[in-house]
């Protein structure tokens, strides 16, 4: 959405259509990745790799904060509908931490400028994603010290998976055509 040239209605609607189709494509991709992750065997049940967040990271890196936020929110809602976690607190947790993660990644990207890479941005997002979930659980649901005992190990896991996702995103960015990632 770099140019809003309303004096050329055809070009404008073409750009809009192109943007919508690309963001839909990436949303679909994120949903599929979340689905794959749902069935991926992991050593501990409360560890998530965050493959879908890698998509938000790539969109953010190549485009802007609103695009990444839109893709991530749509993904969370669609995944909740698919796996039937609508009414449970899990949806509230996922939505909030999803927004926080993208916001933190956007802030890290802006503050870090040239010095920060995909891995750094990814780690920031992953860490705050998990931190948000724990804070929310503590404030809203179970105010129990035992939950906080899990926070430390989970945050360590978040750093590790954040590095992995950042590395994967960097590899993908090298291989994918720029036109596919960039929404005009």
């Amino acid at each position: 959405m770099s140019m809003r040239s309303l004096d050329d209605p055809f070009l404008y609607s073409f750009r809009q259509a192109s943007r919508i189709s690309r963001l839909s494509l990436w949303t679909a991709c994120a949903v599929v990745l979340a689905g794959i992750e749902h069935f991926l065997p992991l050593p501990l049940p409360w560890i998530r790799l965050g493959l879908a967040n890698g998509v938000a990271l790539l969109i953010l890196w190549e485009n802007d904060f609103p695009s990444a936020l839109l893709v991530n929110l749509l993904r969370v809602i669609i995944v909740a509908a698919l796996f039937g976690t609508w009414s449970s607190p899990a949806l509230l947790l996922s939505l909030t931490s999803g927004v926080v993660a993208v916001a933190v990644m956007a802030a890290a990207r802006r503050l870090g400028g040239e010095k920060i890479g995909l891995i750094g941005v990814s780690v920031c997002g992953a860490w705050f994603h998990i931190a948000t979930q724990f804070l929310l659980v503590d404030w809203l649901f179970v105010h129990e010290k035992a939950v906080m005992t899990l926070a430390g190990p989970s945050l360590i896991a978040a750093v590790i998976s954040g590095v992995m996702i950042g590395w994967l995103a960097a590899k993908l960015r090298q291989r994918l055509p720029r036109a596919l990632l960039l929404t005009p």
Binding site: A90, I119, V123, W127, G152, L155, I156
Partner: protein
């Protein structure tokens, strides 16, 4: 920059793990002899207690630092060298004399819920 961010978040997480893993201070020391619960000592009241086990008399003391075993008839004196126990779930054990001290509190150690 990326490396320092990874290091920063890792250290933060490790610090939090260390802080929370130590457990909350307990409320009372429960004394077990020969597998039976024989006494409960509140940790906020300094006391001394002698219990008779398999081999003889073990002396347990509660003071402001927690609970510790000050005398025991066992050969190794491992229970005395274990020092103080004061956090929830901590234990002092004198295996030869069949004496155990376990710290308890009203809070449970169990997890209530797991979210995705």
């Amino acid at each position: 920059m990326d490396f320092f961010l990874i290091l920063l978040f890792l250290l933060l997480s490790l610090g939090l793990t260390f802080l929370t893993a130590r457990g909350a201070p307990g409320k009372r020391a429960v004394i077990w002899v020969e597998g039976k619960r024989v006494a409960v000592l509140p940790l906020d009241q300094p006391t001394r207690l002698s219990v008779t086990g398999n081999r003889g008399t073990t002396i347990i003391e509660v003071d402001h630092k927690g609970v510790h075993i000050i005398d025991s008839p066992c050969p190794n004196k491992t229970c005395i060298r274990m020092g103080y126990a004061r956090r929830n779930g901590q234990m002092l054990i004198c295996a030869p004399n069949h004496v155990a001290v376990r710290i308890e509190s009203d809070e449970s150690d169990d997890v209530d819920a797991v979210t995705g």
